[in-house]
Subunit: 190 residues, 2 copies
DNA sequence: CTCGAAACTGACCATTTGGTCAGTAAGGTC
DNA sequence: GACCTTACTGACCAAATGGTCAGTTTCGAG
């Protein structure tokens, strides 16, 4: 892993664990086994560092949302596939997810966080398009943020007792049954 | 309102809006229209200030959880009442709630945040007691954190288009139907 | 080997911030 | 009026932090 990649990885890990404000460039430098000046050499500003670190996750999310917007969530099949993809995305990019949901107040300072917020809005819009019921939309918001938060708390705070694949499977089931109105076969949630 | 109370209120508002780390004692002093030294006079440390500011919300939560633990959630009636009380609590103390859920990394530094985390665990334990199904427990975690997050985002980010009482009513309905397995009468969600 | 660009570093700096301190204003009691 | 406690303030300080800079090392191309 290049130094650059080490810095980005350390940024994700440290900021997820301690919060952005509490993570200094020196901390990141130590974790990356290089000098603080070198961190600044690769990423001129802390804000830029955060942007770069979050970009891969944002791109992946953008892809998922765009694809779902284009294809639609008409059939039960599509809904289930979407739910699984979404949960898988959140699991895969849990560090970035954690950073995003715990830093709503930095959206103005860090463009990547603003982008993430816009993506969430598009996601909400997408799913709520399939229901005119205000209550359904609210339900969507609750479940998506809930899954995100649960997942992130479980993995970061290491409360998790389940293997990752199983957690993904169960959360997929929860999303499917609660939001999209189409339950998976029973054994899929086990 | 006494200066002391003004300081506590300003602390809640500013820390919810900008985050704890980004809220300086000077900011709080300005909002309270007194000197920074006076803030420190009333609350020796920033940590202590936050503890005091969060205490009322924690006490209210403690009361709700204890009472539910003692009384149980056996009947459908009890479940619905509990759901409504919980949502009302979150709405009433939304500033404190927002601070708590956006600062998981400060649990070690600020005792009040640690207490809040313990209370959440008791809450999860309480509800999951009424189900042996792992999926149900997960569902609870998702819905509670989801309601909390949704509520907080809506009020803080001012996305809310609904009056507060209506939002409370709808969220109560969501919690009841999703977690506790007992839906309210249909018109209660309107 | 030479040279130039990129990677990297230690020393340094300006700013911010939590917190201290010595002293002042206000009000209640004797 | 003398005295004490509580509320309050401006000036000050040490530590931490983001970022600059001048200079050194590394290394591949010619």
């Amino acid at each position: 892993m290049s130094v650059r990649e080490q810095i980005l990885q350390a940024t994700l890990e440290l900021c997820a664990k301690r919060g952005i404000a509490a993570t200094s460039l020196q901390d990141i430098a130590d974790a990356s086994e290089c000098s603080k000046a070198n961190v600044v050499y690769h990423f001129a500003h802390k804000e830029e560092l955060l942007n770069e670190a979050l970009t891969p996750s944002l791109k992946a999310t953008e892809t998922l949302v765009s694809s779902a917007e284009a294809q639609g969530l008409g059939s039960a099949e599509e809904k289930v596939v979407f739910a699984r993809n979404l949960v898988t995305l959140l699991v895969t990019h849990r560090l970035a997810t954690h950073i995003v949901i715990t830093h709503p107040f930095l959206v103005d300072a860090i463009p990547a966080l603003h982008k993430a917020q816009v993506l969430m809005a598009r996601l909400a819009d997408l799913v709520s398009r399939y229901s005119t019921d205000e209550l359904d939309r609210l339900r969507f918001g609750v479940v998506i943020s809930g899954v995100t938060y649960t997942l992130v708390s479980a993995t970061i705070l290491e409360i998790q007792s389940l293997p990752e694949t199983e957690l993904t499977e169960m959360l997929t089931h929860v999303v499917s049954s609660m939001v999209l109105g189409s339950a998976l076969p029973a054994e899929a949630g086990r």
